[in-house]
Amino acid sequence: MKTFLMEHKRWFQTLFVLIGMFLLIQYLKIDLTILLTDLHYVVELLNEMFPPNFEAIWDNNKVLNSILETISMAYLGTLFGGLIAFLFSIIASNNIFNFILIGRLAKLILSFIRVLPSLVVILIFVVAVGPGPFAGVLTIIFATIGTLGKLFTESLENLDPTSAQSLQSTGAHKLQTFKYAVWPEFLPAFISNLLYCFDINMRAAVALGIFGGGGIGYKLYLAMRVLHYKDAVALIICIIILLLIIENLSNYLRHKILGN
């Protein structure tokens, strides 16, 4: 019996996965037949969506303002989040901050920040400061501290320690070695990670708008709510173009900085 199982191991593994899949679909009460019977709703929805109503965007200054609002949210969130993350990473890096226990604590706080989903965080901030861009910025700052804190700590800990050590052996103060040996080597990682995070935060700023963070995401949410699907599609296309521009810009700048 045992050899029979071993010989057909692959078949049993596949069978196991398929049974698991079937049971989970049953558990979630997913009715796959809906995909077939209600397909015409999707077609109707698409019919209502096209052609997109771009006039809604150009006619209405509020939409352009909301795009600016989203960019500002991402920018401010990245800037302040990055600065706080930088302070955190200095404390968390074992090679820079000597108190290992405090460093561990900082790392623990950073991972705690990272495991909290932004969509949960914004719900808290919306209750705290009310819906709008301020809640969005606070949420982005929070998420940025988690992400950049980890990335900064890793790049600080991976720096070649010898240049700082050789300065210290000539009697230089710890702060001096930070400014002269650590900072120049860390700068490219600092800027490139900031740009990368700005790119991520743009997406987050759009998504958070839907949950009460303001900006173009909120406009999209409103359009969907009042069933103006043609406006909504125009907004979605607008968002895609905006995000593509930001992503390419940030990639271009990052390569330019890392290239040097």
Partner: protein, 258 residues
């Protein structure tokens, strides 16, 4: 002047890494420390600046006013001040790669200027000029504004020496400064070190007995933590065989080719 007395380092298991090493080096001397891998050459050098916790022994360094200080028995503040006058160069250069050659030279004096000034203002014109002239002494002035990352190994080591010079040291310690250089650059660096030994004692750890014979003024050989030779730089072949044993074919490859 620097004087090492009874340098001894013993591991908890009883193994002696340094076994009662004593020597004295004064101005005008270029001392080469030779020996097989793991003999304790670098440990000896490290103990000279107090980077190694000795089991026993003293290192006396002359301060400016003819006063001698035992670096293992002094306050941290005095030791820090003493270190600002001890220059170090390494096999791996240990420079800041993304800073310019000139900036790297300037860093040599960070220990001597006030922390506040160096953090807020940086170096002044007088210091920049002095750093330039240090670069001139090692013939690197034309690459002052080049990033260190873009320099060759020989050029990097010359920047490191310029930094050491700018430090205005009373002592220069070099840990295998030519081990990663090609023969031509190794000779250039050895020539510079020899010249500098007229200004202050130079102590270097080397793996090249032939180059040491040409440039050093004195050799100390260490084997298994013990000083086995202290004298003129030209070592007889039988002595080299005794010091290096099987490693001899690696340190003098020309002679043992085929």
């Amino acid at each position: 002047m620097i004087k090492a007395v009874h340098l001894t380092k013993q591991l908890p298991n009883g193994k002696l890494l340094l076994n009662d090493i004593s020597f004295e080096v004064s101005k005008g001397e270029f001392l080469g420390i030779l020996g097989p891998s793991g003999a304790g050459k670098t440990l000896t050098l490290k103990s000279l600046i107090g980077l190694l916790d000795l089991t026993n022994g003293e290192v006396w360094i002359e301060e400016s006013n003819n006063e001698h200080i035992n670096i293992f028995n002094t306050k941290a503040k005095v030791l820090k001040k003493l270190r600002t006058k001890i220059a170090l160069i390494f096999q791996g250069y240990h420079l800041v790669q993304r800073a310019t050659a000139l900036d790297n030279v300037l860093m040599g004096r960070l220990g001597s200027i006030s922390t506040f000034r160096s953090l807020i203002f940086g170096f002044n014109e007088v210091e920049k000029k002095a750093a330039m002239s240090s670069l001139e002494k090692v013939n690197m002035q034309h690459l002052a504004q080049a990033k260190v990352a873009s320099l060759s190994g020989g050029e990097k080591q010359r920047v490191a020496i310029a930094r050491a010079l700018f430090q205005e040291p009373n002592l220069l310690l070099a840990d295998e400064p030519i081990s990663s250089l090609d023969p031509k650059n190794a000779k250039i660096i050895m020539g510079i070190l020899k010249e500098l030994s007229t200004l202050f004692p130079v102590i270097g750890v080397f793996h090249q007995p032939e180059l040491c014979a040409k440039y050093c003024s004195r050799i100390i050989a260490i084997k298994d933590g013990k000083k086995v030779y202290d004298g003129p730089p030209v070592l007889e072949e039988s002595l080299l065989e005794f010091i290096y044993g099987e490693e001899l074919a690696i340190v003098i490859p020309e002679k043992y080719a085929n």
